[in-house]
């Protein structure tokens, strides 16, 4: 059996074709073509969709909708997505960013998937033909998800309320030791009114730092007041061990980097 590519103009037809065994969806190719090149013979057929809507970026009344085929490069250069540009630029080198897609990033196993970390902090919804799913639920069930993701939607964060940090061993581009995305609303007195923090590499997929989120409420962003939140940050995490860093190291430095992000 050689590898074969089937091209469809609609998601509906592609979804039907994807039901066949050994069939995978081809987005930017950075995951699935790599797997085939590396001898993953479980993949015998690839499916792609040419619908231009999948590559569309729509921004209106504070909401953004990104087609699943939108690339990291397209996000990084889009003027109305400036808040997300640091997260998009954190993915790979320039060639990878021209290929890697929003949809693909949702499925990228840790230490990859830094853009999905940003989407998790933004409480995005993931769109398929079956409807819309909150990203947290989507990520939890992604291993068995079969329907093609067509896009993601989220409320654009207010200026400066969204922060993103990726820590790598290799500069300027290496895979993550960890990544952190934080959406923080500050009250008039500069205390944290709401916090949503997502972490990459602290589990096999992006997860939220719910204990830290809670501990931050009502704090001003000073070293003393955020200390309990930093101490709580590792709660509920199960960091990965990979060639980049051990679970121990990731857990140890998470509070350090979270603190630096919050105080930046």
């Amino acid at each position: 059996m050689s590898l074969a590519l089937q091209t469809f103009s609609t998601v509906k037809d592609a979804n039907a074709a994807l039901r066949a065994a050994g069939t995978r969806y081809l987005g930017g190719g950075t995951l699935v073509v790599r797997a085939a090149n590396e001898g993953d013979v479980s993949v015998s057929s690839l499916v792609r969709v040419t619908d231009p809507g999948l590559s569309r970026i729509a921004v209106s009344s504070g909401k953004a909708r990104l087609g699943a085929s939108v690339t990291m490069a397209a996000i990084a250069r889009h003027p109305e997505l400036a808040a997300l540009a640091p997260a998009a630029r954190a993915i790979g080198g320039p060639a990878i960013r021209n290929m890697a897609t929003v949809g693909g990033n949702l499925f990228a196993p840790a230490p990859y998937g830094d853009f999905a970390v940003a989407l998790l902090a933004l409480d995005a919804t993931v769109v398929t033909e079956d409807g819309e799913t909150p990203i947290e639920a989507f990520l939890a069930g992604r291993d068995t998800s079969r329907a093609i993701v067509t896009g993601v939607g989220f409320a654009l964060p207010m200026a400066k309320s969204f922060r993103f940090l990726k820590v790598s061993r290799v500069k300027p581009k290496g895979v993550s030791v960890l990544s952190i995305a934080a959406l923080l609303e500050l009250a008039a007195d500069d205390t944290v009114a709401s916090a949503r923090i997502a972490l990459g590499c602290m589990a096999d997929r992006p997860i939220r730092a719910t204990a830290a989120e809670k501990a931050l409420l009502g704090c001003t962003l000073t070293p003393r007041e955020i200390a309990p939140a930093l101490a709580a940050a590792p709660q509920g995490t199960a960091p990965i061990t990979d060639p980049i860093a051990s679970a121990w190291y990731r857990a140890e430095v998470l509070p350090v980097h979270l603190g630096r992000l919050l105080l930046s």
């Binding site: 059996m1 050689s2 590898l3 085939a36 590396e38 001898g39 013979v41």
Partner: protein, 455 residues
């Protein structure tokens, strides 16, 4: 870069026409236009692709190998096992009379490291070869493995390699290569300070951007041309000749343009089996390591352990140094017996020490076989030696750079392996480093020279 012509000007003839001139590289125009031809840039009609079935176990007995499903797979042309290899047990240094033969081209009855080659599949496409390789069934009985050199040297440790009979390379000098110079115990007895420390390293991959590989084409006259990125053409050809029991005159190797080596392409691994495939099928064969194979299957730099015990005087003179070096060869020798010996010759470093004792061991474990890499036998030793020097200086309470001047070797000094020092230049390097790094040392050190009058 600054070329300091004022040093050693009295022993150097400058002003040559071509030597010393920054001529442009004749190969670079090919590089920047993408025209330079590497081995994999050759493509032949009907070329087969070779994929290797590898051991998933660190140490196991092979009960049986079933290739029947793989052979029936569409696109498969030939499946090779140990019995197809004319002289399956080999070692590359046998060419220079360093044995015993201790490694199998394809595993025969046993695997000794995770990743060891067991079955070779030749197919019309890479994909077909991968699919067929997944259908090869090998029944293993897993055996206890040993990954630690000191564990491996203990009585009762699992025996890694029966061709050696013990978990170390047996030199003519015994279980290790030895250097004995002066009386090291007397040196320790007279020393004001004693420092014994242990250093370790991890295997390091050469990681050239071009992976190891070759393309073999039958020439139609019972000769085979092997386009290869080996670092050593005749070394590889002659070893292939032994393994394949083919006269060397039947082999034609073409190479010499290599996408990075760093010592990683001296092991004679891909060529013999690819030539065998071409011979048995009559077709061109390509065997190119995947990046994963390059990173985890090709020989790395050996993991090493170095124990250094020094005796030093209050005035900074090192009076005794004892070094025990362990080189982890992994499961097979490849070049490691030489690496350990090279280490023995290198210690105690570029310093003049009157009492020296060196033991270097080449140890077998169930780790990936290691081999040569840039700085073979020396790089890790230098790490250990020079960190030890820093510790010693601080122990004595001296500036680390001045401490090195006190002990630096100079022309005529007798080395531990009993060769007089010639052409020394360590002192001048340190003097220049002192200036370049703005790390001042006492005037007497800046006035030193590697020359010795009458030496």
């Amino acid at each position: 870069m600054e070329l300091r012509k004022d040093y050693f000007a009295d022993v150097r003839k400058d002003g040559l026409h071509e030597i010393g001139q920054p001529r442009p590289r004749l190969d670079s125009p090919g590089h920047v236009t993408g025209k330079t031809t590497y081995f994999a840039d050759r493509n032949f009609p009907g070329m087969l692709h070779l994929k290797m079935v590898r051991s998933p176990h660190h140490h196991a007995r092979i009960r049986s190998i079933d290739t029947s499903e793989a052979e029936k797979h569409p696109g498969v042309v030939r499946v090779l096992t140990a019995r197809d290899v004319p002289h399956n047990v080999y070692t590359i240094l046998i060419l220079i009379q360093v044995g015993p033969e201790d490694e199998t081209v394809l595993a025969d009855g046993k695997v000794r490291w995770k990743g060891e080659a067991v079955v070779a599949v030749l197919a019309e496409t890479e994909r077909a070869a991968q699919e067929a390789a997944a259908k090869v069934k090998v029944d293993y009985e897993v055996l206890p493995a040993v990954f630690d050199m000191e564990e491996a040297l203990k009585p009762g440790a699992p025996l890694v390699n029966e061709y050696h009979g013990q978990n170390y390379y047996l030199y003519d000098s015994g279980e290790c290569r030895k250097v004995r110079f002066g009386d090291v115990e007397a040196g320790f007895a007279q020393a004001d300070h004693i420092l014994e420390q242990s250093y370790q390293s991890s295997p390091i991959e050469h990681a050239p951007t071009e992976t190891t590989g070759c393309v073999v084409a039958p020439e139609g006259n019972d000769r085979f041309t092997c386009y290869t990125n080996t670092q050593a053409m005749f070394f590889t050809l002659d070893n292939a000749s032994i393994i394949l029991q083919m006269p060397g005159s039947k082999l034609h190797f073409v190479g010499g343009t290599v996408g990075g080596g760093f010592g990683g392409k001296v092991d004679v691994i891909v060529e013999p089996i690819a030539i065998l495939g071409a011979k048995l099928t009559g077709r061109p064969v390509s065997f190119v390591y995947s990046r994963e194979e390059e990173m985890q299957i090709s020989s790395p730099r050996a993991a090493e352990k170095v124990v250094i015990k020094d005796g030093a005087m209050k005035d900074g003179r090192i009076v005794a140094r004892k070094v025990t070096g362990y080189t982890d060869a992994g499961a097979y020798s490849r070049h490691s017996p030489y690496g350990a010996q090279k280490g023995a010759a290198h210690y105690p470093g570029p310093y003049t020490i009157p009492n020296v004792w060196i033991d270097t061991y080449c140890v077998y474990t169930n780790r990936t076989p290691s081999s040569a890499m840039r700085g073979f036998g020396v790089t890790i030793g230098d790490f250990a030696l020079e960190v030890q020097m820093d510790k010693l200086a601080r122990l004595i309470g001296m500036d680390p750079l001045e401490f090195r001047f006190i002990n630096a070797y100079r022309d005529g000094d007798m080395k531990a392996h009993r060769q007089p020092t010639e052409g020394a230049a360590l002192i001048e390097c340190m003097q220049e480093a002192s200036r370049a790094a703005n790390w001042p040392v006492a005037e007497k050190y800046m006035a030193m020279s590697s020359y010795r009058k009458g030496a």
